[in-house]
Amino acid sequence: MTFLITRRRLLERTLRGSLAGAGISVGLPYLDVFLNSNGDALAAGAPLPLRFGTWFYGCGMNPDRWNPTSEGADFALPPELQPIEAVRQHISVLSGFSVILAGETNHVHRTGVFGTLTGGAPKNTTEIDGPTLDVLIADTVGQSTRFRSLEMAAHGLAKDTYSMRSERARNSAEPSPLSLYQRVFGSGFTDPNAGEFAPDPKTMLRKSVLSAVTEDRKAIEGQLGQADRERLDEYFTSLRQLERQLELQLSAPPPLEACTPASAPKGSPVSQDIEHVAENHDSMTKVLALALACDQSRVFNMVFSAGASRLHTAGSADTHHTLTHEEAKDPELGYQPEATKFVLRSMEAWARFVDVLASVREGDGTLLDHSVVLCHSETSDANSHSVTGLPLMLAGTAGGRVKNGIHIRGAGESTARVGLTLQQVMGRNVARWGYRGNETSRPISEILA
């Protein structure tokens, strides 16, 4: 009965084959931030620069008129978000994220902004535990460009900006469109499309590190079953993909078609008049868009109005800030009508900013598609200096990594989750972020594409 003997061998072999682990389809990550990264980069032939920015405005909003009531996609836009209607497909709203004070005092108009940017409530107003989010990200993506980051103050006060490595190392801002233009396109600017390319020796080393690994293959492969050999192939395919990425970085980058330097904008005096600031903001944004298109910087911070905003309407002695404290709530409306006008103006400016970035073509998409911008403020209800449920928005998909057009409710969780998510999206190696009760290791997976 020879076939019985073959049966035994068959059985053992098949057992082995089946149990040594077949099925290579399993290890795929589901909500991986970097899921599409290779896809994008390789599809475009070479990795397109990825940008991160912040857009700040002062004195928050009226929570019950700003926070969307429905979650997810196509949520209803509440009254104070109406201005973003036209660009809502580019914007995701994050409501309910808060700076956890954890026993620290709420230093009004400061705790909110630095809580979001540094991942925790500062102990006091003179020692902020920097660095801020944008500096951390610039350390990762801002090295290869001419400017690590660009700071702009549409309200014209160079000191009232929030980007800092530490309280002592604050990045002061360009106070006018002209100064921004001169800094970027003045002396020292070389057209990247004309420039010479020198490969980074570090990249070459990373490649040699990988090639050394391929030596191991022979030794191991021989001793594996079929299924495991397939898994090892998967591994080496992944390794080769990274090698290809590095090769691309070693070869000259593609021309930046959107980089067409324009003429200088006109100078403008410093003023807190809302009309004036809006105008400044507009032309600054255009200069910024150009600077990004020419890959002069990959990180930027725009301040539309400072915390405790001093914006005012022509002829009125009351600023946005004083109004939030002194104007009476209109009994019918249930909010402060004059103060709220400034909230709406700020939202208009934000929408305009997004629109400008989205109008610059780049590669297979727009400048905005290869950026992600965080819109934030220092309070929710400015009247009580509340740092609970801060108004936060993200614009741009960061090369397909981030979902736009949705609303996510944070339910009182720390804004550090937003910061952690953005750092991971921008490829920074960080697993947990934040301090003093804000520490988190959970990125906001719902926003990841």
């Binding site: 709420n106 009004v108 400061r110 405790a308 002695a317 009476a328």
Partner: protein, 410 residues
């Protein structure tokens, strides 16, 4: 002119002054600091007295009988019902309005210094009149508007008599009682008489909003614990012991930003904040206590202080879900009141003047008005009252009060 509060102030018709003080106030607010202080006033509550004998018996009490702990989830003073004519003479004005020329000059200088030298001009600058918030006698009494109109004000009848300013007996500081919105007469609440006509205390204004947002508690300004011993029956119990304590740790908030129930709090390591035990009783679900002095810790934003109430008593309803809601009435020590009002510091900078702007009164005026409204604890020699009646509302949620292990005990 967006501000309804302006109508009726005795200065609206003076355009020049108006313009100048608008502009000056605007400039005064340009420092990010100037608002810190508004919050502090929402704390003007409570007081106490450190009596270690009492603490010990209190502790003994607690061990002997079933104990229920609570944490104050809400704790805020009276806000008016905005009845017509509450403030017939209008609202109080601030220094900026009163000394407008000096302030105008100061503000020009201040703005210049800030923009050119990037530093702040101190409040006690030569261009300004001396700071009455740091030294109240530095200015003459500019006068002060108290709430004298027909107002319904909630609180408790502390002195047990229907007092009136006209018929003040000897050894008693004359004052008029209020009628509670619920109809109870004889309500003593002079603190409210003092603050009722200050802009920041009007409906929907600063203090009102702060109370609604529950800022002081939610941001950990104070965590007040209450321990009730011997409550065998939450509906009727003729003998319970109630003790107020401060917690060093702030309240914990849930995902909706409300103070959480069933949290364990360790009472403050400084036993002066473990207040004396008050006898109390529950009749048909209403808890009342005998007078007891209270001192409670307050540390928030610009304040690191203790509030001090004398002869404090509560009247609260024990709810089915275990919470207790009600009113606390007491006599607020004048000096502590003044300190709570003015001792706001940012670093070494005294911020009392700021506080006064933002809430809408003059320190000099307030200071001199205090003795005029005071109605409690007359000084044996001078006969002057050293405290003023007041009331606040509270909501106590179930919690666990943990006694600290104190080295100092032995």
């Amino acid at each position: 002119m967006p501000f309804d509060r302006r109508t009726g102030t005795h200065m609206t018709d003076l355009q020049r002054v108006n313009r100048s003080f608008d502009w000056a106030r605007e400039a005064a607010r340009t420092t990010t600091y100037s608002h810190v202080v508004v919050i502090a006033l929402s704390v003007l509550i409570l007081g106490c007295d450190s009596d270690n004998r009492e603490v010990k018996t209190g502790a003994a009490q607690a061990e002997a009988t079933p104990v229920r702990g609570y944490v104050m989830a809400r704790w805020f003073d009276e806000i008016p019902h905005d009845e017509p004519g509450e403030c017939p003479e209008g609202l109080n004005v601030t220094e900026v309005e009163y000394f407008s020329e000096q302030w105008e000059r100061y503000m020009v200088e201040r703005t210049r210094v800030r923009e050119e030298e990037g530093r702040f001009l101190e409040w006690d600058h030569a261009l300004l009149p001396p700071d009455a918030c740091q030294d109240p006698r530095a200015q003459p009494d500019p006068g002060y508007l108290t709430l004298n109109g027909p107002a319904r004000v909630s609180g408790l009848d502390l002195d047990g008599v229907a007092s009136s300013r006209s018929a003040a007996q000897a050894g008693q500081c004359g004052h008029d009682d209020f009628v509670d919105p619920d109809g109870r007469p004889g309500i003593d609440n002079q603190a409210w008489r003092l603050m009722g006509c200050v802009r920041g205390y009007r409906p929907n204004d600063l203090m009102d909003r702060l109370h609604k947002a529950n800022t002081m508690i939610n941001e950990g300004g104070y965590a007040i614990l209450m321990e009730i011993s011997g409550m065998d029956d939450p509906v009727n119990d003729d003998d319970v012991a109630v003790q107020f304590l401060s917690s060093a740790a702030p309240v914990s908030l849930n995902a909706l930003g409300e103070p959480m129930e069933m949290v364990s709090f360790t009472a403050h390591s400084d036993t002066t904040y473990h207040n004396a035990v008050a006898r109390g009783r529950i009749v048909d679900g209403v808890l009342t206590t005998d007078p007891v002095d209270l001192r409670l810790k307050i540390k928030q934003q610009t304040q690191d202080n203790a509030v001090y109430y004398r002869d404090a008593r509560i009247r609260g309803t024990v709810l089915a879900d275990g919470r207790i809601e009600g009113t606390l009435g007491a006599y607020w020590d004048n000096e502590n009141f003044w300190s709570m009002m003015n001792d706001h510091m940012i670093g070494d900078r005294h911020q009392g003047r700021n506080a006064a702007f933002n809430r809408g009164f003059m320190c000099a005026g307030l200071y001199h008005a205090i003795p005029r409204v005071a109605d409690g604890h007359p000084d044996p020699e001078t006969g002057e009252c050293t405290s003023m009646s007041m009331a606040l509302h509270f909501e106590a949620k179930p919690a666990f009060v943990i006694r600290p292990t104190l080295a100092s005990r032995d």
